[in-house]
């Protein structure tokens, strides 16, 4: 098991929204998170990424093995596509960005400043960052937002290749990606409202 989640509960803004979430992902597998808006897909992914501690439960993941891609792509408007990728490659200590540029068909845009890209192109650049992280487990939050059909295909190909190379992915999405993998509906894990009418949640926000 490359990622093992046991009885995890997580909170957003001090209010517990998910509890008793358990699943595991093996190398070469993807798991797709589903559920209505507000159920906590993003919160769960942020918890897995280590951006916030779980309220309860355990997350076992390889150290420095997770790559997180949220709603925002973390692009610098005044840097070119190449410079943006080069920066992340340097930070993650991988170095080679040619593969990432090719994976999302960004070669022709390589010298264009990120501020002049369309929304879909920015998203492609944001996802290309995953390739230069060189990390085995990808945590993807709505990765296909603003991608057209062709780019979604590029993304699908990339995920399939990543999985075949022994990687793993946890993907929150509303569309049918066509990536083979288990689907986890988060609706049954919705946290029960607390008995003290939420005042505990208030205290917690200030803890």
């Amino acid at each position: 098991m490359i990622l093992n989640v046991q009885d995890v509960a997580c909170a957003r803004g001090g209010v517990r929204i998910l509890e008793a979430v358990s699943f595991s992902v093996a190398a070469g597998e993807a798991i797709v998170l589903r559920g209505p808006n507000g159920i906590g897909k993003s919160t769960l992914l942020r918890t897995l990424a280590g951006l916030q501690p779980p309220e309860e439960g355990r997350i076992e993941a390889p150290e420095d093995g997770l790559a997180y891609a949220g709603h925002l792509d973390g692009l610098k408007a005044v840097l070119s596509v190449r410079e943006n990728l080069r920066f992340w490659a340097d930070v993650f200590g991988t170095g080679d960005i040619a593969e990432a540029l090719e994976a999302f068909d960004l070669e022709e845009l390589a010298d264009r400043p990120a501020q002049n890209l369309s929304a879909g192109q920015k998203r492609r650049l944001g996802l290309a960052r995953l390739v230069v992280t060189g990390r085995p487990v990808w945590l993807l939050d709505e990765p296909t937002v603003s991608l057209d059909a062709a780019s979604t295909d590029l993304f699908r190909t990339l995920v399939v290749r990543h999985l075949s190379e022994g990687g793993a992915a946890v993907i929150a999405t509303h569309i049918e990606l066509g990536v083979t993998g288990e689907t986890l509906d988060l609706a049954p894990f919705r946290a029960r409202p607390s008995e003290d009418g939420g005042s505990g949640a208030f205290d917690e926000a200030f803890a």
Partner: protein, 218 residues
């Protein structure tokens, strides 16, 4: 970490106002003072050390709120927090980049501004020396303040209120060393205390700022 420092400096330069903004602000403050207090050179000479240090402090403050706020807005902060750089290192790198784009140019160009305020001849060397020794503390304390306020939509004003009181020791010792230097007195103890404030800030605040960032990322 080096790539982060290089990127931040590059961003400051490309986005405009990297090196120039703080310097221009400093220049305006220094030019305004003679208009305010009158052109009497002996009065200006007395005021010069204090005004130069207060000006440098305010110029430093100008770009503080951007240290983490921009990275949070575009999502880079989340991504950097999951990168193989410890948050303490991230804070330190950000503070270094801020110092290179504000404190360093201020320290190097300060003698020119001293001339505008009729600083006594003995003070020029010590003005540059104290700014070189003292401004790293300003950037580091500022990075700590920026980490505390990163989650707030309009954190800039709160940041100033939090950070300016913490600048007082640096201001007192910095301006005092310049004044004593201008009068030809011994500057040793003041300079040592100034360096002590900087060393203490650099040693402790990256950890405090990283803790503040962890809370604000939730």
């Amino acid at each position: 970490m080096r790539s982060l420092i290089v990127r931040d400096i590059l961003l400051a330069v490309r986005a405009g106002g990297g090196f120039g903004l703080a310097l221009a602000f400093f220049l305006i403050v220094v030019v305004l003072v003679p208009f305010g207090v009158g052109p009497d050179t002996s009065v200006l000479g007395i005021l010069a050390p204090g005004v130069l240090w207060v000006g440098a402090l305010l110029a430093c403050l100008l770009s503080l709120d951007r240290i983490f706020a921009i990275d949070r807005e575009d999502g880079s902060l989340d991504l950097l927090a999951t990168a193989p750089i410890p948050l303490e290192g991230l804070v330190a790198a950000k503070a270094v980049a801020h110092w290179v784009t504000t404190g360093l140019p201020l320290a190097l160009s300060a003698p020119i501004f001293g001339l505008l305020l009729n600083l006594a001849p003995g003070g020029y060397l010590w003005l540059t020396v104290t700014l070189l020794v003292g401004t790293p503390a300003l950037s580091m304390i500022g990075a700590f303040g920026a980490a505390l306020t990163v989650g707030l939509k309009r954190g800039g004003l709160l940041l100033s209120l939090l950070v300016l009181p913490l600048y007082i020791p640096t201001l007192i010792f910095g301006a005092d060393v310049v004044r004593r230097g201008a009068e030809g007195l011994d500057v040793g103890p003041g300079l040592a205390l100034l360096a002590g404030v900087t060393a203490g800030s650099v040693a402790i605040l990256p950890f405090a700022a990283a803790a503040a960032l962890r809370v604000n990322l939730r």
